[in-house]
């Protein structure tokens, strides 16, 4: 319910079909990278302790090292939070009327694009590599007739299932439109 309230410019009667984020493994991969980087000062400390212990006794270098390590670790934590925000605020919403593409690019750049289902020309997707195949995540590309001609859902869970759902929605929308036109034609006096 909370997610439904976050659909931008929600139209009357619009139903939420899919709410997509990147696969959690994309975030975990970045966190692991920062965790490895965060261990660098610890490794450096033990390297000095074993090879150059006199440096650690220096009245100048030791205090400087403590403060630099502290700032370095805080920066790694900041990158950790930043990676999460980048993951968490990149969202793709599929409703029964449109697809909304919300992307957070850096701290001060947020883009929201929406595409009506009737403007979508082609939906394709792919899984690349061992990890994507086994964990069943990948990219979905959507080709539209709008201003932004192509946009992608990156590293989402079950991409082929998402393609199937979007194609079904397009079919439903098209058949509803055909039905409407036929009804109008039937009502017109001969």
């Amino acid at each position: 319910m909370y997610i439904e309230r976050h659909i931008p410019n929600r139209q009357k009667g619009e139903k939420l079909i899919l709410f997509l984020r990147r696969h959690i493994i994309a975030l975990i991969g970045r966190w692991l990278f920062f965790a490895c980087l965060a261990l660098v000062p610890v490794g450096f400390y033990y390297f000095l302790l074993l090879n150059f212990p006199q440096i650690l006794k220096s009245a100048v270098i030791y205090p400087a090292m403590i403060l630099i390590s502290s700032i370095y670790s805080l920066c790694m934590l900041l990158f950790f939070l930043n990676a999460f925000i980048d993951y968490y605020l990149d969202v793709w919403i599929v409703t029964d009327k449109r697809i909304i593409d919300i992307e957070q690019r850096g701290l001060f750049n947020r883009e929201i694009a929406e595409h009506n289902l009737d403007k979508i020309q082609d939906v394709s997707g792919f899984q690349k590599g061992l990890l994507q195949t086994f964990l069943n995540y990948g990219d979905v590309n959507v080709q539209t007739a709008g201003e932004v001609q192509r946009f992608s859902f990156h590293q989402i869970n079950k991409p082929f299932e998402v393609i199937r759902i979007i194609n079904n929605l397009i079919e439903i929308k098209e058949s509803a439109l055909e039905h409407k036109i036929l009804e109008k034609l039937q009502k017109q006096p001969e």
Partner: protein, 74 residues
């Protein structure tokens, strides 16, 4: 030859810390302004804040043993 106190390190550390606080606040603001509040986002924010407190505590513990009024010559 210039004689410099170790306090200069603390001043530089303070400036870097101020920058860190600004960026951290902007990040947290983003999360609450645009984020979809959930247990996961609260948990990650909690982990971040707990990590910050832990690092600052360790820095304080290690730094408290140092005589920052000492000087060195360049």
């Amino acid at each position: 030859m210039i004689e410099i106190s170790l306090y200069i390190f603390l001043i530089l550390y303070g400036a870097a810390l101020a920058l860190f606080v600004i960026f951290a606040l902007i990040n947290i603001y983003h999360l609450f302004r645009f984020g979809f509040l959930s247990f996961f986002s609260f948990f990650v924010t909690f982990l971040f804040l707990a990590g910050v407190i832990l690092i600052l505590f360790i820095t304080y513990e290690l730094g408290a043993k140092i005589d920052w009024s000492q000087t060195f010559i360049i």
